[in-house]
Symmetry: C2
Subunit: 690 residues, 2 copies
Amino acid sequence: MVHAAWLPPEAFRSVGSRHTVVHGDGPLVDTVLAELRAATGRHGGTVRHGGEAGAAPLDLVLALSATPLPPSPQSQVAARVRAEAGSTGAEGFVLARRDGITVLLADTPAGLLYGLFQLARLGEPAFTGHRPAEHHRPALHRRIVNDWDNVDVHPVMGQVERGYAGGSIVWRDGVQRTDLSRVAGYARLLASCGINGLAVNNVNVHAGEAHLLTDRLGEVEAVAGLLRPYGIRIHLSVNFASPVRLGGLPTADPLDERVRDWWAHTTRRVYQTIPDFGGYLVKADSEGQPGPFAYGRTHADGANMLADALAPFGGVVHWRAFVYNHHQDWRDRGTDRARAAYDHFVPLDGEFRDNAVLQVKHGPLDFQTREPVSPVIAAMPRTRVAVELQATQEYTGQQRHVCYLAPMWRTVLGFQPWGEGGPTVARVAAGDAGPAGPAGTGGGGLVCVSNVGDDPYWTGHPLAQANLYAFGRLTWDPTLDPAAILDEWIELTFQPDDTADPQTLRRTLHELMDSSWQTYEQYTAPLGVGFMVRPGHHYGPDVDGYEYSPWGTYHFADRDGIGVDRTRATGTGYTGQYPAPWSDIYESLGTCPDELLLFFHHVPYQHVLHSGRTVIQHIYDTHFAGARRTEQMRELWRDLPAGLVDPALYARVGERLDEQVRSAHEWRDQINTYFLRKSGIPDAHGRRIF
Amino acid sequence: MVHAAWLPPEAFRSVGSRHTVVHGDGPLVDTVLAELRAATGRHGGTVRHGGEAGAAPLDLVLALSATPLPPSPQSQVAARVRAEAGSTGAEGFVLARRDGITVLLADTPAGLLYGLFQLARLGEPAFTGHRPAEHHRPALHRRIVNDWDNVDVHPVMGQVERGYAGGSIVWRDGVQRTDLSRVAGYARLLASCGINGLAVNNVNVHAGEAHLLTDRLGEVEAVAGLLRPYGIRIHLSVNFASPVRLGGLPTADPLDERVRDWWAHTTRRVYQTIPDFGGYLVKADSEGQPGPFAYGRTHADGANMLADALAPFGGVVHWRAFVYNHHQDWRDRGTDRARAAYDHFVPLDGEFRDNAVLQVKHGPLDFQTREPVSPVIAAMPRTRVAVELQATQEYTGQQRHVCYLAPMWRTVLGFQPWGEGGPTVARVAAGDAGPAGPAGTGGGGLVCVSNVGDDPYWTGHPLAQANLYAFGRLTWDPTLDPAAILDEWIELTFQPDDTADPQTLRRTLHELMDSSWQTYEQYTAPLGVGFMVRPGHHYGPDVDGYEYSPWGTYHFADRDGIGVDRTRATGTGYTGQYPAPWSDIYESLGTCPDELLLFFHHVPYQHVLHSGRTVIQHIYDTHFAGARRTEQMRELWRDLPAGLVDPALYARVGERLDEQVRSAHEWRDQINTYFLRKSGIPDAHGRRIF
C-alpha cells in the first residue's frame, strides 16, 4: 500500500464526471489527457482530444492559446475567454466559467497541466455558476525540490540524509531500484502543487553518488524520464572535485583549462543524454565537501566554471551559500557562524554569471525553528538568489512531531528586508528585487529540501505531507495564507465530502496543525537561541549538546543570563549585515522582537520582554504551555469520531502523537530544569520543575 | 611489523646464554623447552631435556618436583633445594641459586613455565651470587582476561567493543582469521605475566557471536589450541537466550527442563571439542542483553543452570553483576544506579553453586577514573566473587592518553572493606575472605578487560602495554608496588642495558607514567563525580552529556553546588551498603575522603575540602595543573635523547602525547568554563577561563 497523499482518485471526482475536450498537442498535453482519461474512466465523464463537438454536452474545455478552436458553441465561449484574457505567460493559465462551460486556457502545455490540478483543488465549484477569468501564474519561475538521497546507505546519515521517512524511492542497496513507479507518483504529486525542478541526490556527494555525473548517468536519465511528463526538470548534485575523482586530473582548480574542458565535455554528454537537464547543485567548501578554496579561488570562480559549462545548453548552476567554519573553537568568541555566508559571498556580488544562482538557506544558521532571515538575501543585488527551505523536519520534530511549516515559511517569504513597504524575500527570489536572469527567466527561485522517502505515507508522519504541498503552493503564490493552503490539502487528501462529519475532521486538523510550529517552538529552544538538540541526530533536547562543540552554535548561558550578543555595539557585529531599518531594530533591546531576542542579545534572566514577562518566566511558561498543548493535540486526535480517516492512517498519526507528547515533556523538563539549576529563579507559578 | 611488547628476544639474553637442563615432561614442559631452545639458539647457550650431565658446565636446572634427578653434581644442588623447599603448589615455583647453579623447581609444568618468565624478568642477577630459595605462587587461582571481541564489526561499537587498538586478532570481516599467529603471541605475553584464562569474545553476545557456542565452536577450538601451550584455558561469553536463538526452543527459562537439557547437551559437546574449556561468561539482563528476569527467575537461577551444565566437566560460570536500569528517568531522583548491583545480588548470597562466580566491577558504576570500591565485594560472604578491572581505557583516555592504571588497581585491591587490618579486596577475590571454591580452587579471582587489538603495538598507545602487564603481575601478587611493576616492564620492554643512557629512559618513563592516573583525574571529572564524557564514544569532555540521559549517571550541578547525595541521612542511602567503618566514613562530610566527596555528597561550591581548598577552587586548580602537566609530559618525551627507543615507537608515543595535550586542555577549558558560568565564582588566581 502506498498512500495517495493529496491525490487520491476522489480528488478528480468533479473533473472526472465532466465531458471534456482538450485542444492542443505536446507531451504535457498527453499527460493532461492521460489524467483526464483516468479520471473520467473512474467517475463517468468523457474526454476528447480536439475535433468538433460530439453528441454529449460539453462541460469543460482545455485549450492551448495557439491552437485553433473548432466552430462549436463551446469553442465560442472558449474563444471569448481567450480574447479577453490575453497571454497566460509561461506555465500560467486562465480559468473561467460562463454559459455553463468551464474553460481552461494556457499558452503552454505546462499551463494546462497546472490548470488541471487547480480544477482538482476547486472541485465542484469549478463547474457551477459563473467564474470570471482568473489568471494564475507562478510568482517564481524556479520552483525546485532538493532530495538528499544517497545511492549507498551512509553509515551515519542513512540513505536519505536527514530523511525521516525511510529509504530512497530511487535507490536501494547501492543500485537504482528496478521499480521506479513511486518516482512517477512523486513527480505527479510535485507537479500538482507547482514544482518544476528536482535535484535528485544529496548535496553531500559521496564516492558512489559522484558517478551519477558520468558512468551512472543512465540512472539520472531514467529518473528524468519519469519527471518529464510532469514538467519537472532534473538537477544533479555534483562533487566539486569530480575532475580529480572521476576525470583523473591532478586538480579541480576552476581556472585550470583542463578542468574547464573536463566540465564542458562532461556537461555536453549530460545534455546529449538528458536534453532538458536543469543543471548542477553544488555544496562546496562546506562541512568537508571540496571546493575552490583549496586552489585559492573564489566561490564565484567555482560557480562560474560550472555556469560556463552549462550555459550552451540553457542549464543553471545552483551554488549553495552554506559555507562556514565547522571546526570552530568554542573558546573563540570572535567568530560568529551567523556571519559566515555574508562574509564569504557578499564581496562576490556581481561576479556570478547570469546562469549561476546562489542558493541561500532562509536563516543564517541551519533551519532552526526560529531564525531571522539571512542577511545575504538582501545584500547581493547583482546576484540571482534562491532561498532554500527545509521540509524535512531536521530541527522541527523529524516527522515524529506535528509541525506544519507553512506559517514559518510564510513569515520568511513575506519578510521585507528593507523595511515596511519594501520588497519581500519572495520578490528577491522571484527576481523582482534583483537580477531576474537571462531573458527574464526569473530570479534564483525557491528551493526546498524534500521530506519524502519510501515510507507508505511518503513522509513518515502522514500530516507532514502538508509541508511538501504547502511549499509547492507557496512557490506559486508566496502570499497565500497557510491556513488556506492547509484547507486545500485537507480537501484533496481526505476528501471530507465522503465523511460523515467533514467539518469535524477539518476543524481537528486545523487545530492540530495551524499553530503546531508555534507549539513546537514553545517547548524547544527559547526566543530564537536555537539548537539545544542532541548532537548528531538532532532529535530531542540537549541544552549544552553543542555548547562546547566545533560547530559554532552556542547559547552562552551562565548563572546570570543567556543569548548571543550579535550587536555592533558590543557583540559580533552581525546586526550590521542587515540594511536599515532591521540593522537598528535588531541592534536595540528596545526594538528587537521577543522571538529573536536571544539570537541577537545576551540578556539577564530577569530581562523583561515586550510581552511583559521575564526571560526566565517566559521559558517556564512556554515550556509548560507547549508540552500541555501536545497533550491537547493528542486528545483532539483521540476524540476524532471513528471512520473519518483510514484506520491505518489514524493509528500512525496516533502513535506519532504519543511520541510527540513524550518528547515535548522531555523537552519541557530538561529545559526548565537546566535553567532553574542555572538561574536559581523559581517558577512564579510554583509548577514542578525537576 | 608486530611489536614484541615486553618479550623482545633480548628479554631472554641471560637465560639464553646459559647451559640448561630440564627434568620433567608434559605439554607445558615442551613449551618451556621450545622457549629455551629459541633463546639459547639466539644467545649461545645450550639446553638439554633430562639425562646425565654432559661435557659443558651447567648453569641452570629446571625440574618438576616428581621427576627423578640423575646423580650429577648439579642434580645434587637441585635435590637439596627441592628437599628444603617442599611443595610449590599448583602453578607455583621455587627459585634458588647456590654453588653456581640456578635452580627452578615446580610441582607442575605450569610452574616451570611461570618460573622461566621470572628468570627473564630477573635477567643477569638470576645467575650471579647466591639466592636463597624463593617461593612464588599466585595469590589468585583465577587470573583471567576478558576480550570484548566481536566476530562481526558492530555498527556502533566496532569490532572490539571499547577497543582502542584496532580490530580483533581473532576475527576479521565476520570470519576467523586464517593467520592466528598473533593469538599465539598474545597467549605467550599473557602467560609471561601470569594470566591463565581468557574469555575470547565480547560479553555483549550478538547474533554472529552466539554461534561460537555451537556451529562455530571450531573457531573457539582453534584459539584454545593456541592458548593451551601457555597454560591458558579458554572461556566463552554466551547469550542467555541461546536455547531460543540457537536451539529453537520456545523459552530460555532456566528452570525449564528442555532449557536445562539443551545447555547440558551443548556444554557436553563443548567439552568433547575442548576438554580444558574454562567455562562461560554471561552478561544477563544488562544493557539490553537477555536474562532470567524475562522468566521471573533470579540471577542465581540463571547462573546455577549454567553451573550445573558445566559442573561435570570442571567448568565455571562467570556471571556478571553489572545489572542496572539503563532506561532510568533522570527526573527520578529516587533511583541510584550505584545501588543496583548490591540490591540485585546481595539477597541471593548463598544461593549460587560452588562453580558459579559472581563477577563484580571494582566500582559501583562503570570503570570511572575514580570510584569507591563496590560494596557488593564485601557483602556476599557465601558467594565466590571475582573482581573485574578494565585495562581498555574506556574512561581513562582510550589509549590516546598515558594513563598507567596499576596505581588505581593497587588501591582497589588493597582496600579493606571492613576497615584497617581487615581482609583486602584482593583476599576476597582470592577466596581468603570468602568461599574458596570446591577443593580450594580459589575465590572468584581477578578479571581484566583486555586493551589489545591488531595494532602493531598491540595496545595503540605503546605505553598502554604496561597496563596489561601490570594486571597480570597483580594477579600473582596484589601487593606489588606499581612502580616496581613498571620497572619490570621497562626492563623487559626496552632492555635499557643496550641503550647509551638506561637511567634516562627509565626515569623518563617513570615520570611519564607513575602519576599519570592522578594527572588524568586532575583534568577530567572532579572529586569522584564521574562521567562528564561525550555520550556514546566516551572520549573527551561533555559535562552535561549524561546529565539528562537514561543511564543513571548524574552530577546534579546547579548554580549553588554539585554532587550526588548518597547518604543515608538525606540521600539515596547507598552509604548503607558498606560495612562499618566505611558506611560511616563515607556518610559524614567530615570524614569522606576528598577524592570521593562528590560521589557521596552534594555540596556547595564553597565547601572547604580537607585539603583546605574550596571545591570550586579545587576544580580550577586541578584542571590547570593537570593540563599543564600534560605539557610537561610531552616535553619529557621530546627531551629524550635520540636512540633510546625505536624511532617508530618514539613517533607513535609523541603523536599520542600531542593529542593528550590537546584533549587535556579541552577538558580543562570546558570544565572550568562550565563551573565558572554556573557558580559565578572567579578563579582565585585570575587565570584565564573562557
